[in-house]
Amino acid sequence: MSSRKLILFLITALSALSIITLSSCPAQATARLLSSDTLLCQSKQWDRQLVRFRGEVIGDIMLRGTHCWINVNDGSQALGVYCPTELVKPIRYVGDYRYSGDIVEIIGTFHRACPQHGGELDIHAEALKIIRPGARRPHTVIIPKLYLAMSLFSCTLLIMGLYLYRKRLKPRRNKWESRGSRPGDN
């Protein structure tokens, strides 16, 4: 290959790369960070627009072939996010009783009623970034609660014992009453 052809090839390749980068970056940069409340209340306004949405990944990562569903909760409401499987690979924690899920930022197209998913309100993610990794949620036993449980349990056993004692005594009492006398009356 001559040097002239090589230079021409490099220029073309660089130009193509620049166009691709420029065509994606500005859109993502201009995508506005919106809350679930805004998206739900102004769904018509943001329909089919590129949006940024930030929140905690909760529950499950539901794989469906080349794509998957995650649910992202921004503290007010969780929204369904449909994304290519490779985007969710960095997610390590999903929120449940034991863990706080990773806080992610999604850039994607918001659908008020997605034609692909039977009219569901969702976001089709194009980019996903971990803002803050999740962690184990501390769940310690509260000591006063433990004492309360122990004392109530003791009371329950006491009352149950008393109840069973009275129940055992009842047939005897009925027997005495039917005889018209009690032991010791004589």
Binding site: A78, Y97, G118, R137, K145, T156
Partner: protein, 500 residues
């Protein structure tokens, strides 16, 4: 002359209420075991405290009010209403201790919503709730669907006459079998069989949706409980939207439609009488009103251009309408979408569906298909009478397990209950308007609470005024017990104050 209740009346009510409360305590053992199984120690303590509170109260009432007397009608009604109220107060203990509620009133709201199979919730941060608490939430709605008294009658009662009065007090009056205890057991047999089948189907659907086996199993069980009982509870904040699965939606529709049918109809079908499904006044009424309300909402959504294609429109519209009509409250749209996305006509379709509700003696709430059918037949009968000679004797019949001649007493009873339902729908709406909410959300959520549906357009939340929460609790309670027990309890209190 109004007679002041005697000491013995209190004893009878206290004694049987005690038994029901012990039943609630026994049921709490299941979430306790769930918590222990998943090493959730703090929630386990909440359930130990709850169980102990139920046992201390229940045994205390039994010992203090010990009696051999059987229940009369008044006792049955008052006990049903009182035990539901007390079970709510005690059942709310694990809820409140979990830290997921802003106040004890909120915890009581969710418990009453569960027992009455309503499905409105005030719980905070549902996505981080423990398995134990989720088991309790769903179990109580499952038991509430059959009826707490049915639970108690099955395991803790011996006599049958008094047990039947309690059973009626809970808003059920169908005897599947000659003996009420056998009837209660038959209700359980039906529900547990469906639990096994429906739970397994949802487990598979969740696995296909991409969930892990354990979560598929738990979620399958919980969604079944929520759907079958027509409660509408779900383990995640997004309700059914969480799963993004048409298969889960399809299975739940089948479950809540079956769940909303009369237990007498179930039993009849179990005995091989398949024609009953086609002939029964309730199934005819249900299919007619589902079609009408579906058309209304469909037209409304078309007018609003809410969905991009007919398939999407049908899928969302049909699910919401059937969920509303069976008073389930499972949702595949977000609450605020009813106001922002759907138009008034579509929302009216949902409100009519919710207010009518499912079948009598089922897990569903609302006016009930039987009453709507009876009132419609009575209207036809009256129109027929106008066009007939004075001497003509017109006999109108309806089919409910057997052919029944329509009499004035049927129409009177159906009218009274219908008026009572309309009254509480109006009450909730007026209270909402008083607090400054717009008419549509006020009426929507009021009908939802009164008919034990659980669909919401966003008004019901922890931030709503306490008085509204209390009114909604009353509406859910009164709607589920179909008023008579509540009237009996209020009458009992009135007699104590003013009687001689």
């Amino acid at each position: 002359m109004l007679l002041r209740p005697h000491k013995n009346d209190y004893k009878i009510i206290g004694y049987y209420t005690g038994k029901i409360i012990i039943g609630v305590g026994l049921v709490m053992v299941v979430p306790l075991l769930t918590s222990l199984l998943f090493a959730e120690w703090d929630p386990a303590l909440d359930f130990v405290i709850g169980i102990c509170a139920c046992f201390i109260t229940g045994l205390g009432l039994i010992m203090l009010c010990e009696t051999d007397r059987d229940l009369l009608w008044m006792h049955g009604m008052v006990t049903a209403a009182f035990s539901w109220a007390l079970a709510t107060l005690l059942g709310a203990i694990p809820h409140y201790l979990s830290g997921h509620f802003l106040s004890y009133l909120d915890a009581c709201f969710d418990i009453m919503s569960g027992y009455t199979t309503t499905g409105l919730v005030l719980i905070q941060d549902l996505d981080h709730v423990s398995h134990g608490l989720n088991m309790w939430r769903h179990l109580l709605t499952y038991l509430g669907g059959q009826g707490m008294i049915v639970v108690a009658i099955t395991f803790l009662f011996k006599g049958t006459a008094g047990a039947y009065r309690l059973y009626v007090g809970e808003g059920k009056d169908e005897r599947l079998m000659p003996n009420v205890i056998q009837t209660a057991r038959a209700i359980w047999m039906i529900s547990l069989t469906y639990l096994a089948v429906g739970g397994a189907m949802l487990f598979v659907a969740n696995m296909l949706a991409g969930m892990s086996p354990i979560r598929s199993l738990l979620h399958g069980l919980w969604i079944f409980m929520g759907s079958w009982s027509t409660g509408g509870f779900a383990p995640q904040t997004q309700n059914l939207l969480y799963y993004h699965s048409p298969l889960v939606e399809f299975i739940t529709i089948i479950i809540f439609v079956i769940g909303s049918y009369n237990f007498a109809l179930h039993y009849s079908v179990w005995q091989g009488n398949y024609h009953e499904v086609r002939r029964n006044i309730e199934t005819v009424s249900f299919s007619t009103t589902v079609t009408i309300t579906c058309i209304l909402s469909f037209l409304g959504l078309m007018q609003a251009f809410a969905y991009p294609n007919v398939f999407a429109l049908l899928r969302r519209c049909f699910y919401q309408i059937v969920s509303a009509h069976t008073t389930t409250g499972n949702m595949t749209v977000y609450a605020v979408q009813f106001v922002n996305h759907w138009n008034l006509l579509a929302a009216i379709g949902i409100m009519i569906a919710m207010s009518i509700g499912g079948s009598a003696c089922s897990t569903a709430g609302g006016i009930k298909g039987l009453r709507v059918g009876i009132l419609f037949k009575a209207l036809i009968n009256d129109i027929h009478r106008i066009f007939s000679p004075d001497s003509a004797v017109i006999i109108q019949k309806f089919h409910h397990i057997r052919d029944v001649v329509l009499e004035d007493r049927h129409v009177r009873a159906a009218s009274l209950i219908t008026i009572s339902y309309m009254g509480i729908y109006l009450l909730g709406a007026v209270v909402g308007l008083f607090y400054g909410y717009p008419l549509l959300p006020s009426l929507f959520d009021s009908i939802s609470a009164g008919s034990n549906s659980g669909l919401s357009c966003g008004l019901t939340c922890a931030a709503m005024p306490s008085v509204m929460k209390m009114v909604y609790i009353f509406m859910m309670w009164a709607g589920r017990l179909e008023f008579m027990s509540i009237f009996a309890l209020l009458g009992f209190i009135w007699a104590q104050a003013k009687g001689r």
